[in-house]
Point group: C2
Chain length 307, copies 2
Amino acid sequence: MEVEFYQWLKANVRQSDQVLLGIGDDAAILAVGSDTGMVVTTDTLTDGVDFLVDEASPQAIGHKALGVNLSDLAALAAKPQAAVVSLVLPREGNKALSALELAIGIYEGLLPLAKEFDVAIAGGDTNTWDGPLVISVTAIGKTTTNGPLIRSGARAGDAILVTGKLGGSILGKHLAVQPRCLEALLLNERYDLHAGIDISDGLSLDVSRLAEASGCGVALDLKLVPIAEAAIKRSARSGRDAIDHALSDGEDFELILAAPPNSAAQILADQPTEVGITQVGHCVAEPGLWQTHNDELKPLKPRGYLH
Amino acid sequence: MEVEFYQWLKANVRQSDQVLLGIGDDAAILAVGSDTGMVVTTDTLTDGVDFLVDEASPQAIGHKALGVNLSDLAALAAKPQAAVVSLVLPREGNKALSALELAIGIYEGLLPLAKEFDVAIAGGDTNTWDGPLVISVTAIGKTTTNGPLIRSGARAGDAILVTGKLGGSILGKHLAVQPRCLEALLLNERYDLHAGIDISDGLSLDVSRLAEASGCGVALDLKLVPIAEAAIKRSARSGRDAIDHALSDGEDFELILAAPPNSAAQILADQPTEVGITQVGHCVAEPGLWQTHNDELKPLKPRGYLH
């Protein structure tokens, strides 16, 4: 239903000159009347969907709740500034912890991440109810003088790069999100980049969104996709190929970047970030998602997590 | 548990020079490096606590979700600018409507309010799950050149003013919130005001918070408290005095303002807003909440909605 609702939203939410980039990207950019834009993003996590309150620690849940929002800021190469946190706590807590202990545990998880990325926790809202745990975080950042990185800037011929390794995040990385904020800021400062998105729903699905927003296509070379150890482990249990997990598992919270060939070659040679950067394909004129196969393009079906 | 958690937060969330006003007021103020501050507030509404999804229309729920956030901006005399909206929808909808119909209905309620107050809906997040409906809205505004109105500015001798009439909001006003944004902006522009807060949990409780934040006390003259028709109706059914409802019902979403005596007298004489403004008491040096009684002060117990 998310796709239909999104279409309804696009048709019914009016444009505003206060919003430089609105619904449809990882985050919105607001005009603030200075030389930088203010970037806002919000993500809500719920028990049973994004975590299991009786299995994950509240610290891990808190870390994830802030982390996924910082990953959205990273997708726009925005510098994190502040966040507000809304908690809806089960009145009686979970199996092991009271509501108060859950709330404090969640903050014990998100505060170190906030400190690491210099995010001020500016406020929030705390509620209790008879339902499961819900955490909603809104993060605010600033674009830098190099401007934001948006989904729609890719062009045919651009290289498609990814940070890190992909797949199998359900084995742990989906909770222990490492938002690529510093990497995005550094790459956006030093190199010419055309577009960016973070991998929340799977490489193949998210790269398709970048291509669609940019009015081009993307051809992936499946041999080049960096496969995480966790994807290989998952593959052993699932019976599916590891590359399949890397393409579609989602919640990698790595970055997909489109960069012109010269710039991409420089990035790949420099490897300027701690996390590795890999070229996985390139943009093509023909819309859609493709895989390169013996110098030909074959259609590739985008798969991943649809809300 | 909210009080204990708030104490933990105050002790554990580090200060930041990026946050001019942090946890503890109706909204936070962020430094944006220009002549105005950016004001951020977030409120999450849940089925069964803030509305009943099978009784209220989704339009009314959407209106309330944005309205309570705008009321927080009004409390700081901030000009609304944008909002992001997170929905967590019951997968199967409610008794009458599908998840998609609920989502659209919620927006049909909040979009007209957004238009009325020139609030750009900048983005959001939409999820479905097996739990009840949750709506989390974060609203962003700007302080004006007259500065924000905060809780802590009241001084002994100030008059305590309220907008509108109080009590009985459960009969309808709690959904049909009329955020006092324009009133707050106009009053803050034309008159000298010292402090402000909105009534979300009840006059007696919220005015006590203003007093405590300001390091003074407040004496209410119960004869002066403007009682809503709805409070009288509620009184007939509850057997409690109507003034009791006006003092403690909560969700009036009216403003409490502290103003120096001359300024208050001018406001009361001018009545510059469509909604009436009434003096209900004054600030005193002795901390706590009091009622004036034959020129003496008697303690008054703050009562209202504690989360």
